[in-house]
Symmetry: C2
Subunit: 472 residues, 2 copies
């Protein structure tokens, strides 16, 4: 097979809105030929080639330096190190068949698979594999963007129909299946994780934060009217929910149901509970009722006694004219990783043995969950934080010999949550609201007082979210 010819990109030929956030985007350089086994890609400062190797039962894509271009600079992140030049990704033929994207395998409308496992051939082989570039949509000298294997694809993939594809013909069906190159790179399995990578990691796209990032987090604020119009503001705001587990919103109607507009803008759905569709945190400064004084509440996640726990929570402010009454948020993932650094065994204990949470309310309500305080997936990704000493039931699942260390770690984690260096503190004004990902970010409020009996009203709604950003 012949190589696809290379044309150098013209400098600054792309740019405009969003370019700043796409620093790592690599470009597919124009091609003259079709059906080759090599493709040349590059950025302004680096060039490389991708070579297809058909190994019979395995398809291999090799990234090689281009003879005419400088080397790709490797970066310090684990994923990018493993994506550096000379590395390769491999795909088993049966994996390609199972994950074929054609309309007979996948419903084009909803992406659901139309065949079952039993429909797959027992043995699948690769008869042929080459790059397939549609000349009509990928003309000479045109450029198309291709993200690295470790970056996110454009959210709307229909925007890039002209990406080069890999066409693979498989036996025994003798059918040719096309896979976008970017999709293959994104879906590549079996990357070897460098030794230096930590065994516990945060999910892809998550940015940890502490008190130093207050300006960044406050800058997530968007006006509700702007969000309702959709577009880039909404996209950035939604992305921030996943990235930081926290976003602010202004211009919310200062009335009970105002936060439903936020749920709508999010594309979410209220998750109704025994509290109803809304939970009202209405604190009145009435000295005759001690239960409603302005005591602060330590950072916590909401309702860990539900299983599953609530995911996205909205707190919306109706009035907040008293002294104090500030809100605090803490990045639970950052705190957990700090605990892991300070006390690895303590982290191990809190993430291995489940905590128990309990709530007994009126009318026979008895909620109970048995889940770890720090939940880590079997393959080492942080999944969720649950911390609420108020609703903590007695822990029963820790070995007797370990419980002192377990308690020490529990106290240490609590102290980390309370550390002002970890928390972001702000005062919510009427018409303002914030969303927290309750599986990651803790919230709290400080003690407050008002000599003239001023009130602070906050209402909370539970939004059951589709987590669209996990998909990207």
């Amino acid at each position: 097979m012949e190589d696809i010819a290379l044309t150098l990109p013209t400098k600054g030929s792309r740019g405009g809105a969003g370019a700043a956030g796409r620093a790592n985007v690599r470009k597919v350089l124009c091609a003259e030929g079709v059906g080759g086994s090599r493709l040349f890609c590059g950025t302004m400062t680096s060039l490389y080639q991708i070579k297809i190797e058909n190994q019979g039962s395995v398809l291999r894509l090799v990234l090689l330096p281009h003879p005419r271009g400088p080397n790709l600079s490797t970066t310090s992140t684990c994923e990018e190190v493993s994506a550096s030049l000379g590395s390769s990704v491999r795909f088993h033929a049966f994996w390609l068949r199972d994950n074929a994207l054609d309309a007979l395998t996948r419903d084009p409308r909803n992406g659901q698979r139309l065949i079952t496992l039993a429909d797959l051939p027992e043995e699948v082989k690769i008869l042929n594999a080459h790059f397939s570039i549609s000349n009509s949509s990928f003309p000479p000298n045109a450029e198309s963007e291709i993200h690295s294997a470790y970056l996110e694809l454009p959210r709307d993939r229909s925007l890039c129909p002209d990406l080069p594809k890999v066409a693979v013909t498989l036996s025994p069906e003798n059918r040719t299946f096309e896979f976008p190159l970017a999709w293959l790179l994104e879906n590549a399995y079996g990357r070897v994780r460098p030794e230096s990578c930590p065994s516990v990691r945060t999910p892809k796209g998550v940015t940890l934060w502490d008190s130093n990032q207050i300006e960044t987090l406050m800058a997530t604020t968007r006006d509700l009217e702007t969000l309702k119009q959709g577009g880039e503001d909404l996209r950035v705001w939604l992305e921030s929910v996943w990235r930081f587990g926290f976003v602010k919103v202004s211009g919310v109607p200062a009335e009970s149901g105002g936060l439903f507009s936020i749920v709508d803008a999010f594309g979410g759905f209220v998750r109704e509970t025994n509290y109803g569709r809304l939970f009202e945190v209405r604190t009145e400064l009435n000295p005759t009722n001690l239960a409603y004084t302005g005591l602060g509440l330590q950072a916590h996640t909401d309702n860990p006694y539900r299983d599953p726990a609530p995911t996205l929570q909205i707190l919306s402010c109706i009035e907040n004219s008293c002294d104090g009454g500030e809100s605090l948020v803490v990045d639970g993932f950052a705190a957990a990783l700090r605990l892991r650094e300070e006390d690895p065994h303590g982290f191990h204990l809190l993430s291995t043995y489940p905590m128990r949470f309990e709530f007994k309310g009126a009318k026979g309500v008895h909620l109970y969950a048995r889940r770890p305080m720090i939940e880590v997936s079997a393959d080492g990704e942080l999944v969720a934080i649950r911390f609420n000493s108020r609703s903590a039931a007695s822990v029963r699942d820790v070995p007797f010999e370990e419980i002192e260390k377990w308690y020490a770690a529990y106290k240490r984690l609590s102290a980390i949550f309370d550390d002002p260096r970890m928390t972001i503190r702000f005062k919510l004004a009427p018409g303002e609201a914030f969303i927290v990902d309750n599986t990651r970010v803790l919230h709290a409020w400080t003690r407050f007082s008002g000599v003239s009996g001023k009130r602070w009203l906050i209402r909370t709604g539970f939004s059951q979210c589709t987590r669209p950003l996990k998909a990207m």
Copy 2:
């Protein structure tokens, strides 16, 4: 401290409704004294004593054979072996202080903790510990039930206020805290698990099933009107949801919203999604529309592309007059454990590496979740099953070298789900419905046909449940 005197129970002094299910209940024998360090318990055939030992920073409860009674017979289950005579349970003083049940530590109304971790004394010691039995509620010759440490307490603990308590005086506060003995046994931590116990286990109270148990499962059926009245029928029915992950209900209004009555009887709340509050599976035998023919659907869990996945699902039948169209349910936990027996490494792979699920619907709906097919907690308890090859996205998280074994295990698990020996098959009639715990039980329906264009309508509602039975 002096021993509490023993009186033998009169034979057959208890019985009646519910006794059959309480075969393992042990009885506290009447006591004359108060304040002793020994208590005598027994059943008709065995007697033993519980002794309190104050070890300064640890409270120890020792189970000893009673000199006058025969030995407790040990049983074969792991938990009961560790509870056999001569064993003990221990509680650290700081644990007792943290978990104190008094009204200053716990809100009596909702059980929420009123103190924070930082409020706990740094060092806690036991000054005194003894049994505290209120003579008014625990008179001589009266009997009170005490479940073994490994059995469930009566659901409504207010029914047993006269259980003996352990009174512990703690320094530095020099306050006395009372703990019901049964609560201490139930909440004991640090039991050593015998070597013979499997490292993967089902949650407490779960009963595994296969096709042989069809009669037991069909017997879970209750009439909706009966359930609405509450009482024992409702209790047994709710318990079955947790025990089997499946219950049937009859007498459901054969109309769209009929299943909301079931949600109400359950004490649950509909979890709204992009499908609305109801999802209609309305299949019409119209040959011009292939999408609505009566193809069967393999056993699956619903919507694994949501995170969290739906928990309890209701399927309600409006009409089912065609040939075929039977429902099938499979115990996913039983299937997973069978896979573990047949292919331990395959089980390890499916439970270690996450699966990815995806759904792209209309109007920008894009749902995505990255969760294991077989989810096991860090301490070895089965948590959830997710199986839906239709919405399976390409798996990316499996090492290249393991993917063949991973696929083999995936296929094997699929075959186990399809095995008629694992499935329970029945035909839902109009007015009938069933609930599945979608985190454990898979459901399916068989191919059907109707020459005269008959219809089969099933509607599904999502019930977000409080899982009350986990608490028991």
